[in-house]
Structures are given as C-alpha cells and as structure tokens.
C-alpha cells in the first residue's frame, strides 16, 4: 500500500522566500536569546565541560583499534595479515615472525606477529579490521582522543596496542572449539 | 625633468606590450591558462593607460567587462575543456606570409593615424573629462546611430547563441 501525499504547490507568498526567512529568524532568535540568558539546558552540563570532564562513551562506540589478549593472557592475533590487507588507509603494518621464530604463546596458534603497528594518524576508525579478523584479536575500543607530539609517537606498536587493548575474554571461540572437539571424540558412534 | 605622468605612461605602455607579448608567445610556458592570465594583465595595464588619459569611466569599464567578466568566461572554458599544453607548432610559410601582411597593414594604418593626429587641447576644444554624464551625452546624441547599430549587432549575436544552445531541445 503506497499512499501518495499530494504536495500543494507553493503559493506566491511562499515563493518569495519570505516565510522561510521569518521562520528561520524565529528559530535562530529563540535559541540565541535562550543561550545569551544562560537558560540553555544543552550548554549547561552541570559538572563541567569536555577537557576537564571527559565525554562519557557509550558501549557500542568505535574508537581506536587495539589488540586484545585472551583470558589466559596470550596474544590472540595469529599474524594472518587480513587486517593489513583490508585496511582502507593502510594504517596497519604487520611484521610476520618468519621461519626462525619461536612457538606462538598459545597452543592452538601457529605464529604470532613479531611486530604489529597501527598508524593512528592514518586510521579512520572504520572497523574493517575488527570485522575481518578471524581470531577476534583486534577491537575498536572506547578511546577517541589520541594525541602526541610527533608523527612517530602516533604509530602504536604491538606492545602498546596490547597494553591498551586489555583482555577480551567475552568471546572465547577457541575454548568452545576445543570443547566441541573433545565432545565429538567421546561421542558414542553407532556403527550399524 | 620628465613629468610623473610621462613616466607612468611609459611604464604602463611597456607593461602592456610586455604582457601582450607574453600572452601570445610565452617562451616559458605554453599553458593556455597562463596566456589567459597574461591577457588579463594586459587589459589591466591598458586600463592604467586610460586612467592617464583621464578616461576613468573607460578604465573602469575596461576592467569590469573585459578583465572581470569576459576573461573569467575564457578561463572557465579553458578549464572545462581541459586544454593541454599546446605543443610548439612548426611555422607555416603561408601563415607567416599572410600574418605579416596583416600586421604591416595594421601598423601602417595606425602609424598614419598617429602622424595625422593633433593634440586635442591645442585645437582649443575642451577634453571630455571622463565624466560619465558627458560620455552619455556624446554616446546618445552625436553617435546615436553607430551605438544603435552596435546594440543590434550584439542582440543578433545573443539570439544566435541562444538558438545554437537550445538546438537539441526541439
């Protein structure tokens, strides 16, 4: 069911732009007067303004991307480099471990990145890295106000990213997989 | 000691010639936009010459119409068509011949006019002091017919342009 709403053509008075001007002036003047009088609830935050009182971020906010550890404290990233490929502004640079590197720091992963850098000056907080990561190892978190005194300072390395990212135990894909596998092994198979 | 106005005249005349030359034959750049910009500068220095002749109205109109409107449209077209740098063309013997005939002819006419011209002040008439009122009087009384003919010419051109640009609409 589509309902067609007829738009009556503008009459002459409306086409002179005058009503638009009058309305525009009314609205702006109302807000202006309210602000000047100090009665504006929008500008009156009670306990202060932004730099002193940081903005409270809601849960789903997508800020800077950081690497996370799993519940055992192991690096989740397996250096698959998918995020490096997907990143639109090419903010991510991953150095894979190479053949002579030691074992990964969790049993069910082959390798860890030797170095993982995100250039926060390039990153556009698009969230594609989080989306593409098969290991749920990188998440856009709540930080929104990154600053530094030089360009080099704004390239975050693996250590820093892991420290900022913290533990992300909420999704434990590998634990569940392991449990599933075990269950399947002990599953009574009816060959019949 | 030369008068200040004389010095200014030579300065503006020299600039006009220099910019005019750079407009048509710039040795440094063959870019059409550069040529257009030099044409603007030529027009502006010519306006300076008009000011020295006390023809303020003409000077202002020169800048307003030519530099301010016509040349902007030129620039507009050049930019929209995205003309590439013109490559240096080989000189064509016929073009050079015809061109020099035209140049010589024009130079001859101008020279003759220059030699025949007499200073207006010496003839005892009052110079038109660039006042808009006087200019209007002359334009609409003594020179009414040429003025009207020019107007009609412009009108015809305008109608022609509209017709050309609306051709597809039929």
């Amino acid at each position: 069911m589509t309902k067609v709403v007829d738009r009556s053509p503008l009459n002459f008075y409306e086409r002179t732009y005058l009503p638009a001007l009058v309305e525009g002036f009314k609205v702006t003047a109302r807000h202006f007067v309210r602000s000047v009088k100090g009665e504006n609830t929008a500008t009156d935050l009670g306990d202060g303004y932004y730099p002193e009182v940081p903005w409270r971020v809601e849960g789903g906010y997508r800020g800077a991307p950081y690497l996370v550890r799993d519940q055992e404290g192991a690096t989740k990233c397996v250096s698959c480099q998918l995020c490096e490929f997907i990143c639109p502004p090419k903010a991510i640079k991953i150095t894979p471990p190479g053949p002579e590197a030691g074992p990964a720091d969790r049993p069910n992963a082959e390798k860890m990145p030797r170095e993982f850098e995100i250039n926060m000056l390039r990153c556009i907080f698009c969230g594609l890295c989080q989306e593409v990561c098969p290991e749920e190892a990188i998440f856009l978190q709540q930080h929104y106000s990154l600053s530094g005194l030089s360009r080099e300072e704004m390239i975050y390395n693996k250590e820093k990213l892991l420290k900022l990212g913290g533990v992300h135990a909420g999704i434990q894909k590998w634990k569940h997989k392991l449990e599933e596998a075990k269950e399947q092994e002990s599953f009574p198979v009816n060959v019949g | 000691m030369p008068q200040l106005t004389d010095l200014l005249f030579y300065a503006f005349a020299g600039l006009t010639l220099l910019f005019g030359f750079l407009c048509v034959a710039n040795p440094l750049s063959r870019n059409p936009v550069t040529s257009a910009m030099f044409l603007v500068l030529t027009i502006i220095s010519m306006a300076g010459l008009f000011v020295l002749l006390h023809a303020f109205f003409l000077a202002a109109v020169q800048i307003l119409v030519y530099a301010g409107a016509v040349m902007v449209l030129f620039l507009f077209v050049i930019m929209l068509l995205d003309l590439k740098e013109e490559e240096r063309r080989k000189l064509n013997a016929i073009a050079v011949g015809l061109g020099s005939v035209a140049v010589l002819g024009l130079a001859g006419v101008l020279l003759r006019a220059l030699i025949q011209a007499k200073p207006v002040i010496a003839a005892g008439t009052q110079p038109v002091e660039g006042s808009t009122k006087e200019l209007g009087r002359i334009l609409f009384q003594s020179y009414l017919l040429p003025f009207e003919i020019l107007s009609i010419l412009l009108l015809v051109a305008m109608v022609g342009v509209i017709l050309l640009s609306k051709k597809e609409l039929k």
Partner: protein
Amino acid sequence: MLENLFIDPTFQFVLFSAAKIAVVFGVVMTFVAYAVLVERKVSAFIQDRVGPNRTAPPLALKIPVLGRFLQRCGIFQPMADGLKFILKEDFTPAYVRTIYFWIAPAISVIPAFLTLAVIPFGSTLGKQQMVIADLNVGILYTFGIVSLGVYGIVLAGWASNSKYPFLGGIRSSAQMISYEIAMGMSVVSLFLIVGDLNLSKLIQWQADNGWLVLYQPVAFVIFLVSAFAETNRLPFDLPESETELVGGYHTEYSSMKFALFFLGEYANMIASSAMMVTLFFGGWSLPFLGKPADSLLGGLVHIGIFIAKMIVLMVVFIWVRWMLPRFRYDQLMDLGWRRFIPIALLNIVLTALGVALFNR
C-alpha cells in the same frame, strides 16, 4: 627646507593618504579578526553551544573579575587563531600547479582591500576628507575591482589539480559573474536618482534627502542578496559547500595560505557591508547629523556612526548563515538570472520614469 616640504600640498597629500591607508588597513584587519570571533560566538549561541571561552594569556587572568569575563567572551581567541595559522605546517600537495597555487590566495585578498579605498567612512577629520580616494567613478571602480575577486577562487580551484576544488572554482566563476550583473543593475537606479557616481556626493545627497533604502527598497534587496552570493556566504556558499565539496576551492590549502582565503572572505564581507552602508544607509550621516563635521569630535562621531551601521550589517551576514539552508546550484542560477535581473531592469526603467516625471 624641511618646513617647506611639509607645507607642499603634494607631500601633504601623500602623507595623509599613506596615514589613511595604514589606519584603514589596521582597522579592517582587527575587524576581520573580531568578525571571526563574533561569527563563532553567534553561531555557537544559535546552535546551543558555548563557543570559544577558554583562551587567555596567563597575565590577563590575573585581573580580578574582568580577566575571567574577557576569557569567557573569547576576546583573546583571535590572537590565538592568528598564531596558530602562522605556526601550522604549510603543506603543498605534490600534484598542484605550484605558481598558481601560491599566488591564488594573494589574488583573493587584494581586491577585498582595494574596494575599501573609495568608501567614505567619515565626513571630515580636521581638514582631511575621510576617504582614501575620492574618485569620480567610485562605484564603477568598486565593481571593477570586485569582478577581479573571482580570479583568486578560480585559480585556486584550478591550481589545486584535484576534483573538489576544481568544481568549487568552476561554480564560483559562474556564480560571481551572474550576480555581479544583478548587483550592478540594482545600483544603477540609485545613481539615476542622485545623478552622480561619486560616493561622497551620494552620501551628501542622502544626508539631505533621506536614506536611499527608503527610495529603492527593491534595489536594496537585490544588492543584499547579490552581496551574499559575491562573498560566497551561506545560503550561496556553493564554491566551498563543505557537505558536497569537502572545502571547495580551498580544500588543498593549509596554514597561512588558507588563512589568506579566510581573510579575503571576511574582508569581502566588511567591504560589502561598508558598500551597503554607503549606498543605502546614508554612510556616516544620521537623519539629524547630516552636515560634514567641523570639529574633531564631530568627525570622530561620524566615523563611529559609519562603523556602527557596518557592524549591524555584519551581524546580518552572520545571522543569515543559520537561517536558510544552502541553495541548489540551479536554484541559485535561476534566482540570479530569471528573477533578479528582470526585476532590476524593471526597477531601472520605473526609476528613470519617476525621475523624468518628478524632476522636471
């Protein structure tokens, strides 16, 4: 020897002109800085924000109550802004046409300041007329210079060698030319009534006979709207419309070069406000203060009146920005060519008829 030099009229003329130029330039620069502040504050208030309210040099905060108050008003903000513009990294993209990229900002500033030369911003101060150049064709000079203002923007758009600035430049060239015509035609009727192109005489006429806005309201409306289009202000800011073209013609500019465009825009606003005050609101005169001042105080009062009128118009410029949404490009052209030009022409014809009937 030296005394002779000071009495020499040519020398005096040069001296006073130089002084006037310096003062006007200084005043306009200050005006630009504080116009930006006013714009930011007014915009903030209209949009339920607070606007700049924290910049202050440490010393100023030592003043008991006043320091805090000035800080909250943002009085020191323009200085911080200026400093920031100078100190910022001046970045030139790799693929720009360098020469034009460099001169475009300069070209866009110069015309704005040149137009101020013919505006009589006061009657007399001592024996000096308060206008830098009292030209006989004052208004034509203004229009000539204003029409050159478009080059800065067009060249900036072209030199940036990138699509958004280019679109901005193209838009602006068509827009400025179109509205110049309407603007020029709207003032013709004024000069039909007054009978002189000299702006000082125009003001004197208004002092004697009443403001021209009362005689020519239609011309004023056309001039006002065209002035918005010429200065690229909302609702006609299509050359830089940030929602469509990132930043329009100045997308690729940074630091001081960007600041020059900014300066040019505000200087243009000031110039067109001053022009409107001169043309329609009687310049330095008030209905009961029409005589050229004979005392120093009177001269200063006249300058004050002129500036006050100008400030009112500047606030109008700033306020309208939040009153109307941006026009679409075809609407803009339609308004210019199909509404304003015919109306202005009609206005000229009617005025000419009126002048012919009543002045005989």
